[in-house]
C-alpha cells in the first residue's frame, strides 16, 4: 500500500461539477465513480494519494483535495479550503464553459500562480476580449475588464500606463489575440508593454461555434473549413518572440497538475516587459469533435501525446514544443517611458 493512502479528504461539489469525466479517468487510484447523470462522486476516498491530478485538471473548480487534519471536516469545510475557489466571485454559481473545456483549467492555473506570488487581488487587473476565454473576467475576483473582440491588449495598454502599480493579466483566445487582435498583439510585444498575456489556444473560434482560425493547423476541420483548413497556422510563440516580447512560454492544459504549470505562469506575471504564455487547450465541443475526439480526457491525452518539452525530441511531425521558449531582459515600456521623461523632458524643462 502507498504510504500516502488514507491521508486525504476528497470532495466533489455537485453544484459545480459538469460531468466532463476528466477526474474519473485521470485519477491513478480510481477514487471516483460516475453517477448515472454523469457527475463524479467520491467512491474510494481512502485510496487517494493526494497527487492533485483531479482538482488541477477540473475545469469547474469542483474538486477539493486536502490533507486530513486532527479534526474531521465536513464536506463544506473541505470545500472552503479550496484555494482556487477563493478567487471566484461569490455570486458565480458555475462556469458557462462546456463540460471539459480547457479554459477553466487555465483559469485555475492563473489564480494559483497569483496565490503563490501572494499578490493581493486588488492589485491585479484581468482584461479579456471576447470569446469563451473572454468570460473569465466575469468570474475572477480581481479588478476585471471584459472588452471587445481583439482589443484586450489595447485596453490593457491604457490601464498599465495610467497605473503602473497594477499587475495586468490579459487573457485571450487565439482568435482574439492573433486574428482580429493580431495588430495589438505584435505592437504590445514590440513595445515590451509590462503585461502578462495568456493566450488560450484551442485552434478554433470557440464562442461562435467552431469556425476556422489563423491557428487552426493545416488540414484541420472547422465549420467554415468543411474539407479542412488549406492555410498554414500562426506559431504564436514565434510571433511574440519576433515582435519583441521579453518572455515567451508554451504550456498545455494536460500539464496543469504539474508544478511547472503554475510556476511558468507566475514567472510570466513577475517578469518585466511583455510576457506571453500560450496554453494549448482542448475545445472538445468543436475542435475535438471535428478533428480528434469529443471526450475531454482523450483530448488531454492527445495533447500529451503531441507535445514535448523543449530539449526533447518530438514524436510526430507537427508536435508542439513546450516550456519557456525565449527570454530576454529588455527594459519594459513603463521604465523606458519614465527614463525618457527624466532624461528628455524634465531635463529640458530645467
Amino acid at each position: 500500500m502507498n504510504p500516502r493512502q488514507g491521508k486525504f479528504r476528497v470532495v466533489v461539489d455537485e453544484e459545480r461539477c459538469k460531468a466532463c469525466g476528466i477526474c474519473i479517468k485521470a485519477c491513478p487510484k480510481n477514487v471516483f465513480d460516475q453517477r448515472e447523470d454523469g457527475l463524479a462522486v467520491v467512491a474510494r476516498e481512502e485510496d487517494c494519494i493526494g497527487c492533485h491530478i483531479c482538482d488541477r485538471l477540473c475545469p469547474d473548480f469542483a474538486i477539493t483535495v486536502v490533507e486530513k487534519g486532527d479534526k474531521p471536516l465536513s464536506d463544506e469545510e473541505v470545500t472552503k479550503l479550496n484555494i482556487a475557489r477563493n478567487y471566484v466571485r461569490s455570486y458565480v454559481p458555475r462556469f458557462v464553459w462546456c463540460p471539459g473545456c480547457g479554459i477553466g483549467i487555465v483559469f485555475q492555473g492563473i489564480v494559483r500562480a497569483v496565490h503563490q506570488l501572494g499578490i493581493p487581488k486588488d492589485k491585479i487587473v484581468m482584461v479579456s476580449g471576447i470569446g469563451c476565454t473572454g468570460r473569465m473576467p466575469g468570474y475572477a475576483d480581481f479588478n476585471t475588464l471584459h472588452t471587445t473582440h481583439g482589443r484586450a491588449l489595447a485596453f490593457a495598454t491604457g490601464i498599465k500606463l495610467a497605473n503602473p502599480e497594477l499587475h495586468v493579466i490579459v487573457v485571450m483566445g487565439d482568435g482574439d489575440s492573433v486574428a482580429i487582435g493580431g495588430n495589438h498583439f505584435i505592437h504590445a510585444a514590440r513595445r515590451n508593454l509590462d503585461v502578462t498575456a495568456v493566450v488560450i489556444n484551442n485552434g478554433i473560434y470557440g464562442m461562435t461555434g467552431g469556425q476556422v482560425a489563423p491557428t487552426t493547423p493545416t488540414g484541420r476541420r472547422a465549420t467554415t473549413a468543411p474539407y479542412g483548413n488549406p492555410e498554414p497556422p500562426f506559431d504564436i510563440c514565434k510571433l511574440a518572440e519576433g515582435a519583441g516580447a521579453n518572455f515567451v512560454a508554451r504550456l498545455s492544459t494536460h500539464q496543469a497538475y504539474m508544478p511547472i504549470f503554475t510556476k511558468i505562469i507566475a514567472k510570466a506575471i513577475q517578469k518585466e516587459g511583455f510576457s506571453l504564455v500560450e496554453v494549448l487547450s482542448q475545445c472538445p465541443t468543436y475542435y475535438g469533435r471535428f478533428n480528434i475526439v469529443e471526450d475531454p480526457y482523450k483530448m488531454l491525452q492527445w495533447l500529451k501525446e503531441h507535445t514535448y518539452m523543449k530539449g526533447r525530441k518530438p514524436k510526430h511531425e507537427g508536435d508542439f514544443v513546450l516550456g519557456v521558449l525565449y527570454e530576454s531582459d529588455r527594459e519594459g515600456l513603463v521604465k523606458v517611458l519614465n527614463r525618457w521623461r527624466e532624461e528628455k523632458i524634465n531635463a529640458s524643462a530645467k
Binding site: 471587445t148 486574428a179 464562442m207 468543411p226
Partner: protein, 388 residues
C-alpha cells in the same frame, strides 16, 4: 419550379446568395450571423456555388476583400452583426464612395457595452450616412427576396445594399420560404458579367482608384452618391414591380396594412410589425380606425411616399427599436422630417421599445395605441416599459 422550404432567416440569406450566383464571399464569424456564412462555406466547398470563400481575420478585412473583389467586377457578399458592422464602418464608407454594388446581410444585434446578442437596430442605423442602401425585413421570405432584389438594384445604381434582419426572431427562427430555382432567379437577376466600362479593374485599361482628390473635385463625388440614391428609389420601385410580375410577391418601399380608411397609423419596422398587425386587428374590432405602415426601404428614404400616405391622418405613432442618443428614435426623426413640408400634418408620437431584445408583445402595442389616443401633443420620448 420553385419550392417551399422551412428555413431560418440566416439560411434564407445563404440560399439567396446561392441563388444570386455570388462569386466572392468573405466573412468573419459573429453571433447571430455566423450560420449564414457557415452554410455558404459548405455550399461553396461542395461545389454547388462557383465562388471563392475567403476566411479573413476581421470584419474590416471582410469588407475590404469584398471591395477588392467587387472592383474587379465580381458579385461579392458578406454578412455580419453589431460589433462586426461597427468595425466595418470605415470600409462601408469606402464601398459606397467607390460605388461598388456589394450586398451585406446584417443581423440586428444590440451594441456593447454591456454585451448583448439580442436584437435592436442601433448597429445598422448607425451606418445610416455611409451611403449604403438599407432595407428592413419582417419575414424570412422578405429576407430571401431582398438579397436578390438588392443585387438587381445595386448593380444598376452602383451603390452597396444592406439587408437587415432581427437577431433570433428571424435569424434563428424557421418559417416556410419559397426558394426560387436558378432559372427563375437568372431571369430576374442574370449572372454578373464583366463590365470594363465602369469601375472594374481591367488590365487592358489600367486606371487608378481611390486616389487623393482636391477640394475642387471631391464635392462632386459626394453629390453623385446622393444622385445615385435618388435614382435608386426609382430603380427599386421598378424592380419590385418586375419581381411581383414574375414571382407574385409584391413589395413596396413600405407595406401598408389596414391603412385605407385609417385615422391613426402605427409606423413600425422589422419583426415587431407582426405584433402591431395582430394588435391592430383587435383594435379594429373595437372600432378604432387604425393601421400599420411598415418601413422597408430606409435608404434611400421614400419622402414623397411617406407624405402621401401619412399626410392627412389624425395621429401617427412611430415605434422605434433603436434610439438616436440625444435626439429621438431614429425612424421617428425621419418620419417627422418627411412630414414637415406639409402645410397640414398629423402630430407624430415617438415610442421606444424592445431595445436589447426585450420582448415586444401585441399587448405592448395596444398600450402604445391607448397612450397615443390620449395625447394631444408630442412632448417627450416615450420609453415603453422602461424600469426606472
Amino acid at each position: 419550379m420553385s419550392f417551399k422550404k422551412v428555413t431560418t432567416g440566416n439560411h434564407a440569406v445563404s440560399y439567396a446568395v446561392w441563388s444570386s450566383r455570388v462569386q466572392v464571399i468573405s466573412a468573419y464569424p459573429i453571433t447571430p450571423q455566423t450560420q449564414i456564412v457557415e452554410l455558404l462555406s459548405e455550399i461553396v466547398a461542395e461545389g454547388q456555388l462557383d465562388a471563392i470563400f475567403i476566411n479573413v481575420e476581421s470584419e474590416h478585412s471582410a469588407m475590404a476583400a469584398c471591395i477588392g473583389a467587387a472592383a474587379t467586377g465580381a458579385r461579392a457578399f458578406t454578412a455580419t452583426s453589431a460589433q462586426g458592422l461597427a468595425l466595418m464602418h470605415e470600409m462601408l464608407h469606402w464601398a459606397a464612395g467607390a460605388r461598388l454594388p456589394i450586398v451585406l446581410a446584417n443581423v440586428n444585434r444590440a451594441m456593447a457595452p454591456p454585451w448583448s446578442v439580442w436584437t435592436d437596430q442601433n448597429d445598422a442605423l448607425a451606418q445610416r450616412d455611409t451611403g449604403w442602401m438599407q432595407i428592413y425585413n419582417e419575414s424570412n421570405q422578405e429576407v430571401y427576396d431582398s438579397v436578390i432584389i438588392g443585387y438587381k438594384v445595386a448593380e444598376q445604381v452602383r451603390l452597396p445594399f444592406m439587408t437587415v434582419l432581427d437577431a433570433f426572431v428571424l435569424s434563428h427562427t424557421s418559417e416556410p420560404v419559397e426558394i426560387l430555382t436558378q432559372e427563375e432567379v437568372d431571369e430576374f437577376l442574370p449572372p454578373r458579367e464583366f463590365d470594363p466600362k465602369f469601375y472594374s479593374i481591367d488590365l487592358n485599361d489600367p486606371r487608378g482608384y481611390g486616389l487623393l482628390t482636391m477640394p475642387s473635385d471631391y464635392y462632386e463625388f459626394r453629390y453623385k452618391v446622393q444622385i445615385a440614391h435618388e435614382k435608386a428609389l426609382e430603380v427599386y420601385k421598378r424592380e419590385v414591380e418586375l419581381f411581383a410580375e414574375i414571382f407574385g410577391r409584391k413589395y413596396g418601399v413600405f407595406e401598408e396594412f389596414m391603412l385605407d380608411d385609417a385615422d391613426y397609423v402605427l409606423v413600425t419596422s422589422a419583426t415587431l410589425t407582426s405584433d402591431a398587425k395582430y394588435a391592430v386587428k383587435k383594435l379594429r374590432e373595437k372600432g378604432i380606425k387604425i393601421g400599420v405602415l411598415k418601413m422597408r426601404l430606409f435608404r434611400p428614404f421614400p419622402f414623397e411616399d411617406i407624405r402621401r400616405v401619412l399626410g392627412d391622418r389624425k395621429k401617427v405613432a412611430v415605434i422605434d427599436r433603436n434610439i438616436g442618443f440625444g435626439h429621438h428614435g431614429i425612424f421617428y426623426q425621419e418620419i417627422k422630417s418627411a412630414l414637415y413640408p406639409l402645410e397640414k400634418r398629423p402630430p407624430v408620437f415617438g415610442y421606444i421599445i424592445g431595445i436589447g431584445g426585450r420582448d415586444v408583445t401585441p399587448a405592448d402595442i395596444e398600450d402604445i395605441v391607448d397612450d397615443m389616443l390620449k395625447r394631444e401633443e408630442m412632448t417627450e420620448i416615450i420609453w415603453k416599459g422602461v424600469r426606472l
